[in-house]
Symmetry: C2
Subunit: 348 residues, 2 copies
């Protein structure tokens, strides 16, 4: 590197530096480098500008650019818990779409804290994202209010209060849970227990209803003692809930539906500790069909709620919304699909 270049590299090259080198004005540089206006410029100048920019290692200053355009080419992603594979899947899926469009991800795990979620929505513009994907277990009126005055487009993954005028991606988990129950019934299970997560959450309430739907359509009696609620949608709470259920219910259940795969993994371990065989004694079904379902033994039958697909849809909705801020809000979803594995084979 010679002395001149060294001096130049003390500070980042600006559009002016590039312009000076080519003998044009900075605005011309801007026009060349901006795809929308590039074709306005003569090929000859464009080429020289491009070359000079490369030679100087010129990079657009995102702060200055953003100050003018109020765009950052970043999207925010809020998930309750990055350790839950269902959200990991979603983040991966969103990144895939975002990347194709030259957008980057700002990730934030909220720990399912509604206050944290709200603050992020308020903070939207503050942290300069062009849009936000918010996956939440529990969308309240407070969310809906905050969304109304949001500084950038938001897409929800979850179940917002009725009438929230925001693009939304739904999971039809009620339907999925019902299907799982019917599958267990078809496999000759008659005492089907349910390990749910917190019931004030959207998934908790929907999956509970689905479980009850399933019992009803199979003509099985509703038995409240067969339903147990874990403190959280996680492994250890799932284990403890299953333990409580097993300690309490007589005759013991011959099947357990769990409201997600993490709960099912916990339940599996409780069943094992109780000396019960899966599936011979107790069939087991999870929900979300995360990669975990392939890893347990026996492998876990699980209701696929299309998380990857839903995340992709959310990202695409967001991109469309960023382009057309005024278009009517859409609600889309992905159909559930039962993926049968060894954990609910034939009864002993």
């Amino acid at each position: 590197m010679d002395a001149v270049n060294r001096r130049k590299s003390q500070r980042r090259a600006t559009a002016r530096d590039v312009a000076r080198r080519v003998g044009v004005h900075a605005s011309t540089v801007s026009r060349v480098l901006n795809p929308a206006t590039r074709d306005v410029i003569s090929d000859e100048i464009a080429r020289r500008v491009t070359r000079a920019a490369a030679a100087l290692g010129y990079r657009l200053d995102p702060f200055a650019s953003g100050l003018r355009t109020h765009r950052s080419r970043m999207v925010g992603v809020l998930v309750p818990d990055i350790a839950n594979p269902v959200y990991t899947t979603m983040v991966g899926s969103i990144q895939e779409v975002a990347r194709k469009h030259g957008l980057r991800l700002m990730l934030h795990a909220t720990g399912a804290d509604p206050e944290d979620e709200l603050e992020m929505v308020r903070d939207l513009k503050h942290r300069f994202v062009d849009g936000l994907i918010l996956a939440s277990l529990h969308l309240t009126d407070a969310h809906a209010n905050e969304l109304r005055r949001a500084a950038a487009p938001v897409v929800l993954i979850g179940r917002p209060p009725k009438g929230t005028p925001t693009d939304t991606v739904r999971a039809y988990s009620r339907k999925g849970a019902a299907e799982a129950v019917r599958h267990l019934h078809a496999a000759a299970r008659r005492r089907i227990g349910f390990v749910n997560g917190p019931q004030h959450t959207a998934p908790g309430s929907a999956r509970r209803l689905g479980y009850l739907d399933g019992l009803r359509t199979c003509g099985l009696p509703r038995d409240e003692t067969l339903l147990e609620v874990a403190e959280d949608f996680m492994i250890e709470p799932g284990r403890r809930a299953a333990e409580r259920l097993l300690a309490r219910v007589r005759p013991r259940p011959d099947a357990l539906l769990c409201a997600n795969d993490l709960l099912a993994v916990g339940a599996l371990s409780a069943l094992r500790d109780a000396g019960l065989d899966v599936p011979a004694d107790v069939a087991l079904v999870g929900m979300d069909n995360t990669p975990l379902a392939e890893v347990t033994w026996p492998r876990l039958t699980s209701v696929d709620l299309g998380s990857a697909e839903r995340a992709r849809l959310a990202a695409e909705l967001l991109l469309k919304r960023i382009e057309h801020p005024a278009r009517r809000p859409r609600v889309v979803g992905a159909d559930p699909r039962l993926v049968v594995r060894e954990s609910c084979g034939a009864a002993a």
Copy 2:
């Protein structure tokens, strides 16, 4: 909301708006809201400014602020693969530290593509992060070069070329792998196989050396046929590698060390398909001690390489580096620790 407020809310409130309301100058507003200069201002004015700002819903414009200060209060996090629980853990751990300091995360999964990693380093300032944590499987001279001219501080998680003047967090996985072999030897295993990931990567080469170290210190013969390389550090490649190993090696191994937990999960399934019992026929040990190790059956003995701890250290190094750009680069690490679970109990 009355007409005046409604009109105001057409556009975001600026520092000027707040200033006008209080009857001071915009620079005063800036001074009040900036912690570093707040104590310069009289309490009375400060209070009124704070109140007015709240009333108007004033938020600092990050673009304008960044244009002046060149700080965004965001850190970039680059990981090879967000689906690998070891990186999920790291991201969670980094977020914890970042959050305490009011920083947000920009996440990018590179798919272990070196070109993608390099581009992100170049793009550092472009995407306005104040610093970057780069976890890479394979840091090359190209990385070192790019880092030399990086526009913001970088902390590496991995093994850079000798003499790279960059803060680095190391895993002592060579030592960890050796310990695992010694543990298996102590458990009376004498045919210890090794399922490695790609050997041109830093973990691949270190863990291979550790495996060989372990054999040597146990006085076990080095037998190349006991070593098999998977195409990637993932479950399916692990399964296939274990299948190849089992098909080839006679007498069959009585233990398998796998270079990470994902490979071990794949190997477990291959062992099962071969009708072999774990641990009675073959003991199994993974590395990284991810949450997966608790989920398999039997649960997986695994070498804890302190991923959460290392990520925390990386975040802290980065924060210190951002404050003191000139301080000497540090190299830190976390000691490995074998976590024994059912997958390597006594031989049959």
